[in-house]
């Protein structure tokens, strides 16, 4: 389910790192000199280093590749000895079968709608609240922030029943709202943004804007939002992934086929007496493709976000 904060994967956060970020983004002259000295100290990476990295990359990619192998064969391939490691010829047929068995196109669209809405909302509200916690002074700030962190530690599975009762009250069952609403905010996101903005936003910048007579909202809009961008990309991608892969809650709250999200639709593939593993993995692969696309599009920015300290240690 998507209860905020808990559904979001473990991105470590908090605890200001030793250096100030200005050291990194605006390298001073002395820093630059130190770096060139450093370069002389560092040996060129040897062949062993590259070999290790290739091995790591192989293990990272292999399970995904293997699911593609199974998806491109028929069910009997799973029992072959030795197990097949090359793609077979059944991919197109399997994809057609997935689309014939479940309304995959509709599900795909529903998932896009849900995940994009949740992502936009989480990023916006987290930045807003993160700004308040990081840079504005107000009574009870500390206590409230601790509350946010504490809520990240509560197991989610059990909120399901009361949440479902709530959805009935609101008459939202079997609508996409039921999946979107609980995901609109995330404790993890607030915490994440607070940590980032604490370091990334010089207090002097806000002070001088205030001197210029800017309202708090204007400061938020014109200074905080742009400054938050690296972290926003990281948070956005993580939120999108989590929302896309959410399964337990949508399965309970969405019932009619035209409202299913991708993960719910996948569950019907393995339903019933017959489990066709190649069909299941074809569906899994199809459901992962959009994420790979997002990753290809934004992965670079996500990495540069992380490198700029978006995930604060």
């Amino acid at each position: 389910m998507t209860r905020p904060g808990l559904a979001v994967p473990p991105a470590p956060a908090s605890g200001a790192a030793v250096p100030r970020r200005s050291d990194r983004t605006l390298p001073g002259r002395s820093d630059r000199r130190a770096r060139s000295r450093m370069r002389a100290l560092r040996e060129q990476p040897g062949r062993l280093v590259y070999l290790t990295l290739v091995a790591v990359l192989f293990f990272s990619g292999f399970p995904l590749y293997y699911s593609f192998v199974v998806a491109s064969r028929d069910n009997s391939a799973l029992a072959q000895v030795p197990p097949p490691v090359l793609p077979g010829a059944n991919l197109v047929e399997n994809v057609e079968r997935v689309f014939a068995t479940v309304p995959f196109g509709t599900a795909l669209w529903n998932s896009v709608v849900v995940s994009a809405s949740v992502t936009a909302s989480v990023v916006f509200f987290s930045t807003l609240a993160g700004f308040a916690f990081a840079k504005l002074e107000f009574k009870g700030a500390k206590v409230l922030l601790v509350t946010v962190v504490a809520t990240m530690m509560v197991p989610v599975q059990l909120g399901v029943i009361p949440l479902f009762m709530l959805m009935i009250e609101l008459e939202w069952t079997d609508t996409l709202w039921a999946v979107v609403a609980p995901g609109l905010v995330s404790a993890f996101g607030v915490f994440f943004m607070t940590q980032y903005l604490r370091g990334a936003l010089p207090g002097s910048l806000i002070e001088s804007a205030r001197m210029d007579g800017a309202s708090t909202f204007r400061i938020f809009w014109q200074i905080v939002m742009p400054a938050a961008r690296p972290a926003a990309v990281v948070l956005g991608v993580l939120t999108f992934l989590t929302s896309w892969n959410d399964y337990f809650w949508p399965l309970i709250v969405l019932s009619s086929p035209e409202r299913q999200t991708v993960q719910v639709a996948l569950s019907t593939l393995s339903g019933g007496y017959v489990t066709d593993q190649s069909l299941v993995l074809t569906g899994t692969m199809l459901a992962t493709l959009p994420l790979l696309a997002v990753f290809a599009l934004l992965g670079k920015y996500m990495i540069s976000g992380i490198m700029q300290g978006a995930v604060k240690g």
């Binding site: 470590p12 030793v18 509200f125 107000f138 946010v148 809520t151 599975q157 459901a287």
Partner: protein
């Protein structure tokens, strides 16, 4: 322009006469004060409002339910105070689940973070194609937990799994990964570690790059090898990052669910984590009681709140432990 002039700027536009009247200034001042005082609350309000409705309400409700004998199958709910908690603490299967969860957590987290440290260390080198390697590290993150569980269950299959085939080819013999306690924990830990090692490596890398260079220089002049530098210079310097990686991995690891469930084959063995409950985690235990058999929602709620306490305690212990390392070294 002076600061003072700037500050009265907006007041001037608010005053049609062009002169800043005392009333106008007072209004301006009031608005400024209001903005300063109210804005923070206004900005955190959407989060807390939505969170209260869709997060806190369900949780508070389960706390109430946990003090009742409350089955979804019946409309009668009997108040039992802490009866559910007492039953829970005296159930050996609860302790078994707690033990399994801890074991899987350790197996998944410790090697994972060590590997992430080493990887991050490698990535600080001047590599060709930096972005390529970094993207590669992050790739497993894209896969959903369900996909990971399905694929790895396949790979760890007893009769036709790739892992066993490789083991057999090497002359090591097949392993029934699922039926053993240690082997099943390892298989599940691999699923978790596979997904998160690269991600954590990148976070460590970011922290490492922020370590001032002269520290390394000094270490180098002292004749420290690269490995020594990693453990005696880098690790202490990025300790705050490590602390929080550990804590968040812990929070996540204690709630592990889909991996063991799907690894167990989805049927009764999925819910109990194997015939001997050899890999039943706390969340699976919660699921077994709340969404299975008797739908004992009251009991399951008690499990959820007990889990919460366990998570808080473990996270705190971790925190203290790692802080201790800091003061020791």
């Amino acid at each position: 322009m002076t600061i003072a002039a700037k500050r009265t700027g907006p007041a001037r536009t608010a005053d049609p006469t062009g002169r800043s009247s005392p009333a106008g200034r007072r209004f301006q001042h009031l608005r400024y004060r209001l903005d300063l005082k109210a804005s923070p609350y206004l900005y955190i309000a959407p989060f807390f409002a939505l969170f209260a409705a869709f997060g806190l309400f369900p949780l508070a409700y389960t706390a109430w339910v946990s003090t009742h004998e409350w089955s979804l199958l019946s409309d009668e709910h009997v108040f039992v105070a802490f009866g559910n908690y007492q039953a829970l603490l005296s159930d050996p299967y609860f302790w078994n689940a707690l033990g399994n969860t801890m074991s899987i957590l350790l197996l998944a987290t410790v090697p994972q973070l060590l590997a992430a440290l080493l990887l991050a260390h490698l990535l600080t080198l001047r590599l060709r194609g930096q972005t390529f390697w970094r993207m590669g590290m992050l790739l497993p993150n894209v896969a959903s937990v369900v996909a990971v569980a399905v694929i790895f269950s396949q790979l760890f299959g007893r009769d036709f799994g790739l892992v066993n085939w490789v083991l057999e080819s090497l002359g090591a013999g097949r392993i029934d990964w699922q039926s053993g306690s240690a082997t099943s924990h390892i298989a599940i830990a691999v699923m978790v570690a596979w997904k998160w090692t690269g991600y954590n490596a990148l976070i460590f890398l970011a922290a490492m790059q922020a370590v001032p260079r002269d520290v390394y220089e000094a270490a180098h002049l002292d004749g420290a090898s690269r490995m020594q530098q990693l453990f005696h210079v880098t690790v202490p310097m990025i300790r705050p990052t490590i602390v929080f990686t550990v804590i968040v991995s812990t929070i996540y690891g204690l709630q592990i669910f889909a991996e063991p469930q799907l690894f167990g084959g989805g049927g009764p063995n999925g819910v109990t984590g194997g015939a001997s409950r050899q890999f039943q985690t706390l969340t699976l235990y919660l699921y077994e009681h709340g969404f299975n058999r008797g739908f004992e929602f009251g009991y399951a709620s008690a499990v959820a709140w007990t889990m919460f306490l366990v998570i808080v305690v473990v996270a705190l212990l971790n925190y203290l432990f790692i802080r201790r390392i800091r003061s020791d070294s």
